[in-house]
């Protein structure tokens, strides 16, 4: 299983029927492909849609029905649309049960940096700051390292997305949560040892006596 699939499959297990869920671009988008059987959630596109469905069949695209990346999507039965003020009222107001976002860095207190690398990448924060600040649960989907450097760091040196800590980080190596504000190793990926995770992680990880393996 490749890194992205491990991450997306594991995060999909966090989804429960009835949740309103917002997926960011990149690996988070893949989470929708791995919904466990029988689980039905509502996906929000922050451009103004609840009930986002898969990409349309060839020739069935509707130019006014798009996701937050501007790509054509479908609307599932029961879908609804609204303006951007409503969309971000849902997000900031705590009405989104879970958001899954990409990450550049997460530090050992759970603080996330995911929107800019000053001088290199300045795309704008889009909805990320509102999502991290307002969603009930924030899950980060990211590769454990980039160019050999751990993305789970002691302290973010990139600009923060929010001072609200995230709830869960899932990488191709591990699941990390932040009980009491401390990065804690909850699970390892199949075939990965606790020591391998520690070696690949810059942050100080709390390692409980029992660390389970991801059930993928």
């Amino acid at each position: 299983m490749d890194a992205q699939t491990i991450i997306a499959k594991r995060i999909a297990q966090e989804l429960k029927t009835g949740m309103l869920v917002n997926l960011g671009i990149g690996i988070p988008t893949l989470v929708a492909n791995h919904l466990p059987p029988g689980v039905n959630v509502y996906f929000q596109s922050e451009n103004g849609l609840i009930g986002t469905g898969p990409v349309p069949e060839p020739g069935m695209a509707q130019t006014r029905l798009t996701d937050a990346g501007g790509k054509a999507v479908t609307a599932l039965p029961g879908a609804c649309t609204f303006d951007s003020a409503m969309s971000f009222g849902l997000i900031r107001g705590g009405h989104v049960a879970m958001t899954v976002l990409g990450g550049l860095q997460v530090d050992q207190q759970g603080l996330l940096a995911n929107w800019t690398i000053p001088g290199k990448m300045v795309p704008g924060m889009g909805g990320a700051m509102d999502l991290v600040t307002g969603a009930k649960r924030v899950v980060v989907a990211m590769q454990h390292s980039a160019k050999g450097k751990s993305k789970v760091v002691k302290k973010c040196n990139l600009p923060l997305t929010s001072v609200r800590p995230v709830d869960l980080v899932v990488t191709e190596l591990a699941v990390i949560a932040f009980p009491g504000g401390r990065a804690t190793l909850m699970e390892t990926a199949p075939g990965v040892t606790v020591q391998q995770v520690i070696d690949a992680t810059e942050a100080d990880l709390v390692v409980p006596k029992q660390v389970s393996e991801m059930a993928l």
């Binding site: 501007g70 704008g124 924060m125 509102d130």
Partner: protein, 215 residues
């Protein structure tokens, strides 16, 4: 509400004007108005919008033609021309969290001085802004935004000027229709008054100054 051709309408917009423009990655952007702004070569524009779409699409056409002096947006990552002009110092870009941007516009249109939001507290977004404690939680004071013109795209406009929007093309449109000094509407379909039932009117006709004629 007056009905004018797109050329007559855009002729009302002076160089240096501030424009709120509807659309999200080009979806819900009044393309005929944008094309006419380019044709008439309006310069030194300030654009307030969610994003600058893609090169050659929607607001991206204004950027590509070098007509924009300043952009206030939440995201410019899909338009390399915006980024290049920003880096070259040819265009000023103010990046605003999306939920804050739409609320600042809403505040402008709704007669509020600004809004208090937790978004951005403790980040670079908070620099130079007042942080206000309300019931033990910190909020940023984000001030209202208005513009000289709102350029709105609607799905239906009736001949009175009532508007409704379709699917995700709604986005910023009904909100900017409240915050523009002069509201210009490009509709995909102009329909007889009464076709949009009162409950389905999303923007009342009294807000619309100019409806662009077909053709």
């Amino acid at each position: 509400m007056k009905v004018l051709s797109v050329a007559e309408t855009v002729a009302l917009i002076p160089d240096g004007a501030s424009l709120m423009i509807g659309g999200f990655m080009g979806v819900g952007t009044p393309e005929r108005v944008v094309d006419e702004l380019v044709r008439q070569g309006k310069r030194d524009l300030t654009v307030i919008a969610n994003d600058t779409a893609f090169p050659g699409v929607g607001i991206g056409k204004l950027v590509g033609a070098g007509l924009v002096k300043k952009v206030i947006a939440s995201h410019i990552g899909t338009n390399r021309e915006t980024q290049a002009q920003m880096i070259a110092g040819e265009m000023q870009v103010e990046l605003v969290p999306q939920g804050t941007l739409i609320e600042r516009i809403r505040a402008g249109g709704f007669g509020l001085g600004g809004i208090l939001t937790p978004t951005g507290v403790g980040t670079v977004v908070a620099e130079g802004k007042r942080t206000i404690d309300v019931a033990g939680r910190d909020y940023l004071l984000e001030v209202a935004l208005k513009a000289d013109f709102a350029l709105v795209q609607a799905f239906l406009a009736d001949t009175t000027g009532n508007l409704s929007y379709a699917l995700t093309a709604r986005n910023f449109n009904p909100v900017i229709a409240m915050a523009g000094g002069t509201v210009i509407v490009e509709a995909e379909h102009i329909v007889p008054t009464g076709v949009i039932a009162p409950d389905n009117v999303m923007t009342p006709a009294t807000l619309v100054d100019y409806l662009i004629a077909n053709g």
